[in-house]
């Protein structure tokens, strides 16, 4: 089903957005993988020229923000301290083929 819908959309038979449903079935994980300590994860690191999407069969807008800084932590005992933070925040917004094989519109965050 996904192949049919995707191929048709890619061939210009109809805009994918016309077919897209407004619900959010789970998307497919990216087929790009990283193997660490013998365990394979469906994820890509970000970088220049790299598709940062964590989902596959996707057509849309993406964003990546790796931001560092400081902040105030409050511990369970009430004590406070300054901690450093580092983030890898991403978004994917557009159309995708869900696990149900249909094309959907959706917005996802990578947190």
């Amino acid at each position: 089903m996904a192949g049919v819908a995707g191929a048709a959309a890619s061939a210009g038979m109809f805009p994918a957005t016309v077919l897209a449903k407004e619900s959010n079935p789970a998307p497919r994980p990216t087929t790009n993988t990283q193997t660490l300590n013998g365990v394979t994860f469906d994820v890509t690191f970000f970088g220049p020229g790299v598709d940062p999407s964590s989902i596959w069969d996707f057509n849309g807008l993406v964003g990546v923000a790796d931001v560092q800084g400081t902040g105030t932590a409050t511990n369970p005992d009430g004590s406070k301290e300054t901690l450093l933070f580092d983030t890898d925040m991403r978004f994917m917004s557009g159309v995708y083929v869900g696990l149900d094989g249909h094309v959907h519109k959706g917005t996802f965050g990578f947190v």
């Binding site: 994860f41 807008l61 964003g63 931001v67 978004f91």
Partner: protein, 159 residues
């Protein structure tokens, strides 16, 4: 969203004390740290601008990246939540094509700043400082992968 005490250790993560993410579903070969519930606005690829936010997003605290990936601590994670506000802004410093196999598209490099907060079920909480953040990497773009991959676009943009 990772927290470190004293200094960063991106090699062994010995100084990392909290790691907030939604997990991997199913583990390990499933959707990686991906969730709904975020809000987007003001996306302008020409200017390198966008806004992304979320309030009280359900997360897990895995405490450190190695445990988030390999799940060796007990408990592996605890309930948590996070809120964030991210702004991408220009100037656009470079533009280029996607080079990942099976993906076509264009990406722009820009800047980002972020404020966020989080808490876990043990009573820990964190609020980031509004000022003094560093944009280590910021990127916006449009991509087509998998069944949406456009070979023609890829060929044209890589000439």
């Amino acid at each position: 969203m990772d927290l470190y005490r004293g200094q960063y250790d991106f090699t062994n993560f010995t100084t990392q004390v909290h790691d907030f993410d939604p997990g991997i579903h199913p583990y390990p070969a499933g959707l990686f740290w991906t969730q709904t519930g975020i809000h987007l606005g003001g996306i302008n690829l020409e200017e390198g601008a966008a806004h992304m936010s979320a309030s009280h997003l359900p997360e897990r605290d895995f405490f450190n990246l190695p445990n988030a990936l390999f799940r060796f601590q007990t408990p592996v994670s605890i309930e948590a939540s996070a809120s964030f506000d991210i702004h991408w802004s220009g100037p656009v410093t470079s533009r280029g094509s996607v080079t990942t196999p099976g993906t076509s598209g264009q990406l722009v490099m820009c800047q980002a700043n972020m404020t966020w907060s989080a808490r876990n079920s043990l009573g820990f909480s964190f609020v980031s400082d509004r000022h003094g953040t560093t944009s280590a990497f910021a990127q916006l773009g449009r991509v087509r992968n998998g069944v949406f991959f456009d070979q023609g676009e890829s060929d044209n943009t890589n000439d």
